[in-house]
Amino acid sequence: MKLINNKEKAFTLAEIIIALLIIGISVAALTRLAINYIVSLSLAKEQLLAIYVTQEGLELATALRNSAPTGSNNRFQVPINTTSNAISTYCLDFNSSSKEITTTTDCAVSWNRKFTREIIYQTLARANPGGDDYIISIMSSSTYNQEPRFSLNQKIVHTGYIR
């Protein structure tokens, strides 16, 4: 008969707890990844809003330029520094009660105050040497003011008479 020295060693409680801890940490890390993914997807609504907030800025500036009163010395209807590359910043909004475009000091967008929007006019050059037409770049820049913060910019170039 052969003598058997059968020494079977089972896991100790400490080993099992450590193993469970490692599994727990791995699951937590994977869950966090999944949650981050979901949060980034849930921003889709805010990103959609940002598109329309920003685009509205350009449309308001365009409508202002296209509706300057006859004889106006400034087609853009907001004071613009015509020095080359000078920047002038304004906040424009549409008042649905009066149906007017307003220049405001409060840059929070009236229909969604989680966003602020600035309209940035930059003088690029004279359109006609010696004349009064200027080429103006208009940038609409909107910022989402809640976490996670992000900004969106859109730019358009207009020519307008400024005297």
Binding site: N6, I51, S67, P69, T70, S96
Partner: protein, 181 residues
Amino acid sequence: MTKKNKAFTLIETVVVIMLFIFAIVIIAQLYISLTKAALDLQQRHIAINSIHSGLEKIYSELKNGFSFTITDNSILFKDKLCETAMINFDSNRLLLYYNSSSLFNKDFVELEDVKIYGYNPSTTPSASYYYQHSSSTKLIVIDYYFYIKSPITTKTPLFIRQSIAPLNSSKAQIVNRCKFE
């Protein structure tokens, strides 16, 4: 014969089983929550894409349109091919139509109300560069009161304001657009 078998004690086994069950329950709950959230987000994505494509269609048509007649919930105009077109909100069916075609996927999006504003500042007709079409609409503003539907959570409101300055309001953009009419 020396045989030394070392196994779990009853207490060790019970503790481990309890920990295991506890971990499984937590993981299962997380999995269920994440699956629900993912399904909800998928629905919302479809809704948002439907809204975006509908609004882009409206933007494109109104940007290139002209001769606007605007009421609180409809816009009658000429499109870029000089054809008569209409955008109107049916407040009974809660649907927004472009030439009788519904613009949003009603399975995912509910449109509670639409308000339309036209900006027509009074300017004297002049030959000046930008406002030859002095009586034309310089800005169209549309307020949309959406609800995004979800099979899991309650529907969520979404308000969007869309503004469009038609190209036609600037003389530089249009000269005899309908000359072949």
